[in-house]
């Protein structure tokens, strides 16, 4: 009897102990989200990522914040700029080159140091002030060009900072989404510890150390970093925006540049989420219960026309005919398996900068043929045009196949399209050199895709005459006084709603002028395990990982 009682007591004790031990584990089981990126390496982690917007998506907006940010909460509405580390901002009424930004109180960097006006000045100086100790040439290229008019920063008080631009520029708050705030205290810690022959060498060593142990103010903190293999981020439970404290404990980023490898990793359960799965695997992914997400991105896949003397595209009838001769729905449903949005301009309806163009870009072969005949071309007199493109490249989607589709389509409207296929980086370099440069190789159009996140990137650099090479990307030397006037108007309109209206006017004018051959927008396809929930894919290059949960 005694034995029985002892045994029972022991069993109860063991059961109680094991239950007690198991309970906290079950409650606190770590949730991990593993993502296969298209990048071949982890984008730079020191605050200003490389690898374009994929870099910003994964190592910018995760670990860092900027003064302004993007609203990524809706899949339906266009993503617009919202307050970030600045709660409000205002341009000086008397001097439109001076802006005052009020900073968000109570924000700390991951290392515990406070975010304040000194930190903003320090971060502006890291890319603009060459004699600042923290100036880093490697971060300048990916920053300065995205905020071309920003000149300097000055502290007003701990929570107020003044930014100055080289000329009045209402786009500044939008451009500032690209300037991520790194912790000056953490950097200084590494600088003080660094060994080096001089201040420059110490600075470089400090940035190298910072990249391995970074500190921003973002919703994710760096936990472990193995270059070229993985970056592990953990949630920042103290994130200032409580609605955006991550729901997942850990996020692991894995570079997988090959689409089939990414898809196989997802199918085998090695990752939970892949960017840009192999298009031909989409049916299998769907059939096996994986979820697919895609949405219109601010991205344009165009032909940019040469407008230099003698270019066949100088005739607006020809430009309009080309735009009317492409069956974009056919391109979407056939070649691209649904992974594109037909382009009817740089911005589509619903976007605040769309405007009301009178020229409707659609498939109307008869109208296109009529326009070409009016311009003096026909079945027996074709117009020869030459386009420079690449066989691959970031954002280029499927350039060769798509261009061959265009070649066939345009042939029906009396175009004889020649393709000049060159390597992607060379095409990119030639883009800066312009249509008059020998590198254009006689082409009168170029096919370089572009991001359309902000007005400068989306419109100004292509349409303003002053942006012609070597200044910027007006490759075709467009010189239209109306565009220049509208750019000036938009830049100098500081009320956000009025500025958006001015940008819409500029966009509508560019569509009415058939400034480009607008073909497609990318849709940022991604596939993920059914365990991943809460995903909102906005109309943006970016996505908010904070909203994502993992089912057991």
């Amino acid at each position: 009897m005694l034995m029985k009682k002892t045994t029972r007591a022991a069993l109860v004790a063991v059961l109680a102990l094991t239950t007690a031990a198991a309970w906290p584990r079950a409650v606190s089981a770590e949730t991990v989200l593993r993502i296969g990126m298209t990048a071949a390496d982890i984008p730079r982690t020191l605050g200003q990522p490389d690898q374009g917007f994929e870099g910003n998506r994964f190592t910018g907006l995760t670990m860092y914040d900027a003064l302004t940010g993007w609203d990524l909460s809706s899949a339906e509405k266009a993503s617009v700029v919202i307050p970030g580390l600045a709660t409000e901002w205002k341009v000086d009424d008397a001097d439109k080159t001076k802006w005052t930004f009020k900073l968000r109180p109570g924000v700390t960097f991951h290392d515990g140091s406070p975010f304040n006006a000194d930190a903003v000045v320090w971060n502006v100086d890291k890319v603009l002030k060459q004699d600042a100790p923290q100036f880093d040439a490697s971060q300048v290229g990916v920053t300065a060009s995205r905020m071309p008019t920003l000149a300097s920063a000055k502290k007003i008080d701990d929570m107020t900072v003044e930014l100055t631009t080289k000329e009045p520029d209402s786009f500044l708050p939008i451009n500032l989404t690209n300037l991520f705030m790194a912790s000056p205290a953490k950097w200084q810690h590494f600088y003080d510890k660094a060994e080096g022959a001089d201040a420059k060498a110490k600075s470089q060593a400090a940035w190298t150390a910072f990249a391995k142990d970074a500190a921003g103010t973002g919703p994710w903190k760096m936990a472990s970093f193995t270059p070229r293999e993985r970056l592990e981020l953990v949630k920042n439970a103290n994130y200032w925006d409580k609605a955006r404290v991550p729901k997942v404990d850990k996020m692991v980023l894995l570079p997988m540049p090959e689409a089939n490898a990414r898809t196989a990793a997802l199918l085998s359960g090695q990752v939970d989420w892949v960017e840009a799965p192999a298009p031909d695997a989409l049916p299998e992914l769907k059939q096996r219960g994986f979820k697919l997400y895609a949405n219109e991105q601010p991205h344009v896949w165009p032909w940019q026309f040469s407008r230099v003397e003698g270019s066949p595209w100088n005739d607006i009838r020809v430009r309009k005919a080309a735009n009317l001769c492409i069956d974009r729905e056919g391109l979407k449903d056939g070649l691209l398996a649904g992974l594109m949005v037909p382009a009817t301009g740089t911005f589509e309806p619903g976007h605040p900068w769309r405007g009301k163009p009178t020229f409707e870009i659609k498939y109307d072969k008869a109208a296109a043929q009529k326009l070409m005949q009016e311009a003096g071309f026909g079945p027996n007199k074709k117009l020869t045009v030459k386009t420079q493109t690449s066989a691959s490249g970031s954002g280029q989607m499927q350039p060769l196949a798509m261009n061959e589709y265009l070649q066939q389509a345009l042939a029906e409207c009396y175009f004889d399209v020649k393709l000049d296929v060159i390597e992607w980086n060379t095409l990119f370099t030639n883009w800066r050199r312009g249509a008059k440069d020998p590198s254009a190789n006689g082409s009168n159009a170029t096919n370089v895709t572009y991001a359309a996140m902000d007005p400068f990137f989306a419109l100004v650099r292509f349409l303003q005459s002053g942006m012609a090479p070597p200044v910027s990307n007006n490759w075709g030397f467009i010189n239209n006084p109306k565009f220049d006037e509208l750019v000036k108007k938009a830049r100098q309109t500081f009320d956000p709603a009025a500025r958006d209206a001015a940008l819409a006017e500029l966009h509508a004018a560019s569509v009415d002028d058939a400034a480009f051959l607008y073909v497609a927008h990318d849709v940022g396809p991604r596939a993920m395990s059914p365990k991943v929930t809460g995903v909102v894919q906005p109309k943006s290059w970016f996505i908010d990982f904070s909203l994502v949960s993992m089912k057991e």
């Binding site: 730079r44 490389d50 490697s138 060009s145 370099t429």
Partner: protein, 317 residues
């Protein structure tokens, strides 16, 4: 022997300098902007010029080469333009991953190749020979990236036995010879091993057949030497040539395979080279090519010395 080794080392010096020159020039004469990794296409001329000066790309090519070579001799291959990390550290880390993969692939490929080659050579013109030769031909002919994908589909996607990509589990920052890491190695190593397996099989088969048909083998057998003894003679005579072939194959494997490493996202030198090319990261590209070329030269030197040690006739030649 020492004189032979010294002579071979002296021969290597001009080769190394030529290799350095060629890899420096290769990346400079290709079109495109060397700053494409950090310089967006819409960057102003002023910014481009500022960065060009900061990275030293504004200086004349001979000066750039001289400075680069001088730094390289001191073990400094500069910093990657894209990541800012020291090139040497990047390359050595990648090379160590490739060496791990190459060793595993060499063990599989050479063992299988020698075995199949000997069997095929001993049983020439029989069905055994035909089977072994078919394996060898398949090994050489099948596109290895395709084979890699097939293996991934079977063993990762369908059976879920082995990981499809990567070089180790989450949270692991270095390689270890345990199953948690080794399972990441299995598929890329098998894929990498098929070409050396095929080539070694064919070489050993041809050598074995050739040696077995020589008079001295008949003489050995006539003198009553046991077949095991004959086999030892065959091995000894075949070894120098087989060793040279294996050395070259090992060199190729140490060079990394862009395709295999990309298919498996194996962070080796091929994968690194792929990123360096796509990012047009010139210092990284130059550094990677230089280190890999030096590996190749060094390996050839080792093979030459090993051959001479096994077969004294070689050093006389």
């Amino acid at each position: 022997m020492l004189a032979y080794i010294a002579r071979r080392i002296v021969y290597v010096i001009p080769i190394v300098i030529s290799v350095a020159l060629v890899c420096f020039l290769l990346v400079h004469i290709t079109p495109g902007d060397p700053l494409v990794a950090v310089l967006p296409a819409d960057a102003s001329q002023e910014l481009a010029a500022q960065l060009r000066t900061a990275y030293g790309f504004d200086r004349p090519l001979p000066v750039q080469f001289g400075l680069w070579l001088l730094r390289a001799l001191h073990g400094d291959l500069g910093n990657s333009i894209a990541t800012g990390r020291p090139v040497l550290a990047e390359v050595m880390r990648a090379v160590s991953n490739t060496v791990t993969l190459a060793i595993a692939a060499a063990i599989i490929g050479f063992t299988m190749g020698i075995l199949l080659g000997l069997i095929a050579g001993y049983f020439r013109e029989t069905w055994i020979d035909k089977l072994a030769t078919s394996f060898a031909i398949a090994g050489v002919s099948v596109p290895h990236y395709w084979l890699g994908m097939v293996l991934v589909i079977i063993f990762s996607v369908q059976l879920n036995w082995l990981p499809a990509v990567g070089a180790g589990p989450n949270g692991s920052n270095s390689w270890a010879w345990d199953w948690a890491h080794l399972k990441y190695l299995v598929l890329p190593a098998i894929t990498t091993s098929v070409i050396p397996m095929g080539i070694v099989t064919r070489t050993v088969r041809a050598l074995t057949g050739d040696i077995l048909s020589q008079d001295f083998v008949e003489a050995l057998r006539a003198k009553g030497l046991h077949e095991r003894g004959v086999f030892r003679h065959v091995i000894k005579n075949a070894a120098p040539t087989a060793l040279a072939v294996m050395g070259l194959q090992l060199g190729y494997m140490l060079g990394g395979s862009i395709l295999i490493e990309t298919v498996f996202s194996w962070p080796g030198s091929g994968f690194l080279l792929n990123s360096a090319i796509f990012q047009r990261d010139l210092p990284l590209l130059q550094g990677t090519i230089l280190v890999l070329a030096l590996f190749f030269v060094f390996l050839n030197l080792m093979v030459d010395i090993a051959q001479a040690a096994i077969d004294p006739r070689i050093k006389r030649g």
